[in-house]
Amino acid sequence: MSAVVAQLLELRERLAATAVIAMRAKADAEHGHDQYAEAARGTTHPRLQQAMADMRIVGDKSARIARLLNKARDHVTAYLNRIAPGAVRDGGSHAGAMPTGEQLLADAERRANAKASVGSFLRRAVKNVENIQDSTKTATELGEMGVKILRSPSGPKGAQSTSTTTPSSVTTVSRPKMDVPEAAAQIAVLGIMTAVAIHKTSQVLGRTIARWRNR
């Protein structure tokens, strides 16, 4: 269940970040429309009027796409609140057309993580674990969650980005002080690494035993 919660939190984050991109498309379209409008001063040429009308529609459609994304995010939030009360920290509120600081931050962060791999997913999962703030959760459970993420057959889709932007260097802010959720997350990562190590060791052992038997 905790793996599902982590993935749903990730899904919410992605929906919000995509809404921010859609709002950028709206801004692009509005700028285009304004340029055409400026050039159209003193003329009523039908083609230029049509270009203006089209660009207005592009802006409206982009805004609609952003609204739809936020609506989908609201549904995910409502579902999350039912299956895991307290997992969503901000209650899923968003200020309509204007991207919130959280959304902008998530957008920037996702760009930074464009070359994401399991490592990035883990980092996000760790953050989501912090969001869950479930102090009753044991390190073993957290480890199991991580292992599930690693073992999921097609891997977390969230870990891949198709963004065409050049990823800037990933900046990891080192925090000198370690708080409790962070410590739990560290233990979770340790648990995953241990599980992987055990898995590999058993594979090697298995092969060695097989060789020994075949002799």
Binding site: H31, Y36, R47, Q50, M55, V58, S62, S152
Partner: protein, 86 residues
Amino acid sequence: MNVNEVKRTIRSGNEAAAQAKTTLGQVADEATTTLDLAQLTLQGSHDDDVVAALKIIKGLDGEVDRAIRRAEAAIEHANAYLAAIG
């Protein structure tokens, strides 16, 4: 505004339209990835919110495509005007 300024402004409008297209392409890419994640996570659930969320996410591709085609149409019209004024 003389003819050269008009042309320059329209070209700048075209660049913005092309940028809108590119940005919408990113939205489409993200929407595809988001749909994959949503289906992976919410598969088999008949919850009303899950069904509604998946329906919206599935429809995004079409919405984005229509917006991209509009931006292309805008550029086409603007170029026709550029050709008309010589």
